[in-house]
């Protein structure tokens, strides 16, 4: 099918905490620091709001990579949220890796409201990794994405 010939356009879901990383993304925007358009942000109050179900859901619905960004340890607006997020996501990423889903498809990073540059860099780097990996064929839902290999 002709679909195969089109260049790979990944889909990256980025969960950003409202107080640091979302503001970091805004700063990247204000500073006109480009990162690929395939990165699309969902705003959450805190990185600890990101339920692993959301990450899995994104993959099911055809995301090729999922990144979670929160305040640096110690800077959480809610004091401890990112510590819980850190544990949860570590275990989730480990489980995904264990099930053979490429571990480079998931990432968590700390990006403060002042780190517009870091936001762009992290997203650029993550996107590069996803491009290198190609389409996500190891976790998804056949009904949602025709692209997932049989």
């Amino acid at each position: 099918m002709s679909v195969d010939k089109q260049p790979f356009k990944p889909l990256i879901a980025a969960f950003c905490c409202n107080w640091c990383s979302y503001a970091g993304a805004d700063l990247a925007g204000t500073s006109r620091l480009a990162y690929p358009a395939e990165v699309k942000i969902i705003r959450v109050p805190c990185s600890c709001r990101v339920n692993p179900l959301f990450v899995l859901r994104a993959f099911q619905r055809g995301a090729d990579g999922v990144i979670i960004a929160g305040c640096h340890p110690g800077d959480c607006h809610y004091t401890t949220g990112n510590y819980y997020a850190r544990r949860r996501m570590t275990l989730l990423f480990s489980m995904l890796d264990y099930l053979g889903i490429e571990k480079e498809r998931t990432k968590l990073d700390w990006i403060s409201a002042a780190e517009g540059v870091k936001f762009a860099t992290v997203m650029n780097d993550f996107s590069k990794e996803i491009h290198a990996l190609g389409r996500n064929t190891r976790f998804g839902d056949l009904r949602c994405t025709t692209a997932v290999a049989q």
Binding site: A28, P45, R49, N51, T79, G81
Partner: protein
């Protein structure tokens, strides 16, 4: 199903230059729930907001999506506009197509496609939004300050001056705290008592302040604006209301063996005592463990001599129950116990003392009447060696890992004062670093070295050895790369500052978190340094971390301002985007309670009707006045019973779906 209106903003050319507005407008028209989709040059302008209001009327909109700049910019603006148009402000969602789209993507097709995705994601969310209303709660116009040291006093005075009632709870028989024990204060060398005691008097006489000394907080319930607190006033055995403070009882008391805590145990006091002359209240207290009457039943001399008949051996603890709108924690510190520091011989050699003990020795009201004398033999020392960082910056596990912050300065102060009064005494200081970042601090330290000839040795002391009635201090001089051994008559240890022992218990009572060193954690290390993570609980002074007097006072006043700000409100409006537990789904596991940083979740036994049968279940209840809406609880809730309004599981999943479509 909602009736959603989508408004795509050009932001002049900021968005329109990179995003094809018309494509976005058209694309939104076929999204579920959208009944109206339009665009405008500047949505945030009066005219733009007017357009929104008109559309609400014309199309009966129940939900609004603004595709514009970051919600951090104008979310409030559009929420207000929606409110004015009769739509619940929480039915508004913003698609950030400027900062996160038009400003960073140069390819117009790409940017337009992304703007469509971001917009439909916002639409997907609004479809599941529900109108939210902030909760309200009353504010009790009274504050509680726990701790009657300089921090607590300052906070209390500031709050009282602003016109609000304040209660101070102090566990010692007198207010004043550690500062009352100090002799002079750096870097100005003015006398501590001279600046503290007037404040103590101010507090005692202030019509808005009540002081509960010799009292402790026993129980706390409630939440911001309305804490219920139980205070236990320990029995003084002296009726405070009729005691005139004449002091006769103390003179006659035959029990003289108790260590005088105020003088750091350097001398003894009576069983009935007032800690120091300017104590407030000026009412003695009977130390029941020392009192002969209490121990043997005989004596009672004090009662006999008391002209006011104020001594009451039968007195019981009193319980005070009071409600407060805010709580200030000002529990302060004590110095680290050095019993285990064998190398310094503190426990064995009376001439090895702590800096606070030296304060008392230097103080005119102290055990030696202000003369520098060796505790062992009462003779004047010829050589004094100071050792810094005893128990501070200690990674061996024995002491504290942090810097106690004030030791460098008070050691310089002590050294300078000794050299000034007793120029014949040699004074040396062992230090790791000298840290003097403060107004006039470094100048002060340099004066000690340059003008007063204090010998500073960079290095640690390895051992203090008693030798022929003197002390041999062995250490290293890192700058000279040599071992040194100094003979000293007095060794003064700068023992680390440690959070007061009461901090931990209070933290549990108030669900105010503490760090590994038992210092209270601030709500945000930078932006909320005087708030605890628990709403309505504020931090004042060293209980939050080591600091000197001016910093303590500054923080105390800052905390007071926060309290005043809170008490000045009649009602508290709470953020409506908070957690809520579905009682039929909740299984009562307590996991949400464990992760809540604010102690907002509690459990109740509730009778529920399930399948036509009444069942008592243990279920989570979120206190809406306390919850801040972080969502930590929602993720540990496996059944999804706990959900966050405004960022619900289904909303975020709908966003994910729309984003990945």
């Amino acid at each position: 199903m909602q009736r959603i209106g989508v408004f795509v903003c050009w932001c002049g050319s900021n968005i329109a230059a990179a995003v094809d507005i018309e494509t976005v407008v058209q694309a939104m028209k076929s999204e579920p729930g959208v009944v109206y989709s339009t665009d405008y040059q500047y949505m945030c302008s009066e005219a733009g907001q007017g357009k929104l209001k008109d559309a609400v009327k014309e199309h009966g909109l129940t939900g609004i999506v603004i595709c514009a700049c970051s919600p951090r910019m104008h979310e409030a603006t559009f929420r207000n506009a929606a409110k004015a148009a009769g739509v619940n402000p929480y039915m508004v969602e913003i698609a950030n197509i400027r900062e996160q789209c038009s400003w960073i993507h140069r390819d117009r097709a790409e940017a337009t496609a992304k703007a469509v995705v971001l917009s439909r994601t916002a639409v997907a969310k609004v479809n599941l939004n529900t109108p939210l209303t902030p909760g309200t709660s009353d504010v009790v116009k009274r504050a509680l300050v726990i701790g009657g040291g300089i921090a607590g006093l300052q906070s209390a005075l500031d709050i009282a001056e602003a016109g609000y009632q304040v209660d101070i709870v102090e566990k010692q028989p007198t207010i004043g705290g550690k500062m009352a024990q100090l002799d002079k204060t750096f870097p100005t060398l003015d006398c501590a008592a001279c600046i503290l005691t007037p404040k103590m008097v101010d507090a005692a006489q202030h019509e808005n302040i009540r002081i509960y000394t010799y009292s402790e907080v026993e129980q706390v319930s409630g939440f911001v604006g309305n804490f219920s607190v139980r205070i236990r006033g320990k029995a003084r055995s002296v009726k405070a209301d009729i005691c005139s403070g004449c002091g006769l009882c103390m003179e006659k008391c035959p029990s003289k063996k108790a260590k005088d805590e105020f003088n750091m145990g350097l001398n003894n006091r009576r069983a009935i005592y007032i800690p120091f002359a300017q104590a407030i209240p000026n009412v003695p207290v009977i130390d029941r463990e020392q009192c002969i009457k209490f121990k043997t039943g005989k004596c009672g001399l004090c009662a006999r001599v008391c002209p006011a008949d104020a001594v009451d051996f039968e007195q019981q603890d009193s319980i005070i129950e009071e409600r407060y709108g805010a709580v200030v924690l000002a529990t302060g510190f004590h110095t680290l116990s050095l019993e285990h520091y064998d190398e310094y011989q503190y426990a064995r050699q009376p001439d090895v003392i702590t800096s606070l003990e030296l304060e008392r020795i230097m103080n005119a009201a102290g055990p030696t009447g202000g003369k520098l004398l060796r505790p062992s033999n009462g003779k004047a020392p010829k050589s004094v060696v100071f050792v810094q960082c005893v128990g501070s910056r200690d990674t061996t596990g024995c002491g504290k890992t942090y810097c106690s912050k004030i030791c460098c300065m008070y050691t310089a102060k002590h050294a300078m004062l000794i050299r000034e009064k007793y120029p014949e005494v040699d004074v040396s200081v062992f230090y790791i670093d000298v840290r003097t970042p403060g107004k006039n601090f470094d100048e002060f330290y340099r004066r000690a070295v340059e003008d007063y000839g204090v010998r500073y040795i960079k290095g640690m002391v390895g051992k203090v050895v008693p030798e022929k009635g003197r002390l041999l201090v062995r250490g290293s001089d890192l700058l000279d790369d040599s071992q040194v051994a100094l003979e000293a008559d007095l060794v003064v240890l700068a023992s680390a500052v440690e959070a007061d022992a009461s901090a931990k218990g209070l933290a549990t009572l108030l669900t105010a978190s503490i760090d590994t060193n038992n210092f209270y954690t601030e709500a945000h290390p930078k932006l909320k340094p005087v708030e605890s993570p628990t709403a309505g609980v504020y931090l004042s002074g060293v209980c939050q971390g080591p600091k000197d007097i001016p910093e303590t006072v500054a923080q105390a006043s800052a905390a007071a301002v926060k309290v005043v700000g809170l008490l000045s409100k009649d009602k508290l409006l709470s953020n409506p985007c908070i957690a809520r537990a579905d009682e039929l789904l909740c299984s009562g596991c307590s996991n949400c309670e464990h992760v809540c940083p604010y102690g907002a979740v509690s459990y109740i036994e509730q009778e529920l009707r399930i399948h036509g049968r009444n069942q008592i279940r243990r279920i989570a209840k979120v206190n809406e006045a306390i919850c801040q809406g972080c969502g930590a609880c929602t993720v540990v809730c496996t059944s999804g019973a706990m959900d966050l309004r405004g960022f619900s599981n289904s909303q975020i999943m709908a966003e994910v779906d729309a984003l990945c479509r």
